[in-house]
Amino acid sequence: MYLQIIWFELLAFVCSLIALPVIWKSKYLRIFPFLMLIIVAVEGYYKFFIADRWTNNAPVYNVQVPLQYVCYLLILYYSARTISLKRYSIVGLIILVVFNAITTIYFTPEKYSNVWGYYCCSIIAIMGIIIKFYEMIITTRTAKYDFLKDPFFYILFAFLFYNLVTLPYFGMANWLYRTNRLSEFKGVLTALTQLMSVTNYILYTTYSIAFIWIASARVIY
């Protein structure tokens, strides 16, 4: 099931390119095509150029995942309208980079995923999105601003959903892998893999719809 994720990522990437003339006007939305390119490049490489499905891709993901979250934090930074969110994004970005660098270099065995680094990224992103949501509901920029009519809200909500749901998955999968209990918990792992695939489908479908919405409505908040 997870093998199909790449198609959803490609769709989101194409949609972000379709919306490019509109999203280029926005400092934070213009980061999305670059973010999607990072995702699609790595996933596409393993899908189309590496024949062996079981090739260890952990070292590449240990770089790609923090890079993705750096993009998300930059998106939050540029979309911020309050100084508190700007500060949070900068501090979060520094912590994320330093923590991931240290844990990947010194505490992650070779060919293993840096799960602690992923946890750090995910938690910083979750908190950042919650602060952004708070900013969205208390905004005074215009009395008529309605977050439900802003495609960016759905992008963030889908990403929050993805992070909250996949966080236990990565923790459990990593624990099983490290304790060599994968065979004992094969059923759990399969269920978790499927769940992760579903959250990915939801995430990238939401992105695609949001980009098409932005492109057709030509409105950026």
Binding site: I130, F133, M136, I137, A143, D146, F147, L148, F157, L160, F161, L164, V165, L167, P168, Y169, M172, E184, F185, G187, V188, A191, L192, L195
Partner: protein
């Protein structure tokens, strides 16, 4: 319980908590949004009410000031001029041979003329009944006065059952109509002006149309003259919708619609 089952339960419980958290967050945001929208609506209503009250007070103060000036003219200046006429006429009778009677008569005539003008002014200022009259009557009077001038033919027609309009709205509509008529007479070089008022369940519509030379509207710079912006401002104050249409050679038309909620 076997470890496989335990694993399912553990992950299931954590995910359930996460999803509940997400749902709670969304519900909180929706509830806050609802409250915020209600608050914005409330503030808008209060603002509208406040503006309406200010407008009514302005009209009331203006009316009272005019009445007071009118009374002062009538009671003070008018009385003194009457006395001056009497003195002049008396002087004429007493000193028939020593003064130029023609000059005294012309002074008396001038004072009488001024007195008549002042009385007319005083009446206009103190006619509170006219201010409170129906819009149709006021427009009809305006039409009669304009037709007397003979610059162009002004016609007026009304349809629907006339209902009572607050003084402030009445006054504003009249001023907007006057502004339009003045502009048509001064700049449009029109032959006909048509005024229509329509009263129905939805509100009051007032339309004015001339067959003059028209103008580019909105202008190339997007700006309007002071007159147009005043009309718009007045319409905005009473919560009316004003649509002005004009193009060179095709005349000018204006439609004002006051919804019944604003009137009541």
């Amino acid at each position: 319980m076997d470890s496989q089952r335990e694993g399912y339960l553990l992950i299931g419980a954590v995910m359930f908590i996460m999803i509940v958290f997400l749902a709670t967050l969304l519900l909180f945001m929706l509830a806050y949004r609802k409250r915020k929208r209600e608050h914005v609506k409330e503030v808008e209503t209060m603002k509208e009410k406040y503006q309406k009250e200010i407008l009514e007070t302005q009209v009331e103060i203006q009316k009272e000031t005019m009445q007071q000036i009118g009374r002062e003219i009538h009671d003070n200046v008018g009385q003194k001029l009457t006395l001056a006429v009497l003195y002049a006429e008396h002087l004429n009778l007493e000193t028939e041979k020593r003064y130029n009677t023609e000059k005294v008569s012309s002074i008396s005539g001038l004072i009488n003329e001024s007195l008549s003008d002042l009385r007319s002014l005083s009446q206009n200022l103190t006619r509170s009944t006219e201010n409170a009259a129906e819009l149709n009557i006021l427009l009809q009077k305006e039409v009669v006065n304009l037709n007397k001038a003979g610059v162009c033919i002004v016609s007026f027609e009304s349809s629907g059952k006339v209902f009572e309009i607050p003084l402030a709205i009445n006054n504003m509509l009249l001023r907007i109509a006057q502004e339009f008529l003045q502009n048509s007479l001064k700049h449009a070089a029109c032959k006909n002006i048509q005024i229509r008022s329509m009263y129905d369940q939805e509100g009051l519509s007032l339309s004015l149309e001339d067959d003059g030379k028209g103008f580019e509207y909105p202008g190339a710079t997007g700006g309007n003259g002071i007159g147009i912006s005043n009309m718009k401002k007045r319409a905005e104050l009473i919560g009316a919708e004003l649509i002005l249409k004009s193009s060179p050679g095709k005349g000018t038309s204006m439609k004002i619609f006051v919804p019944v909620e604003k009137i009541s």
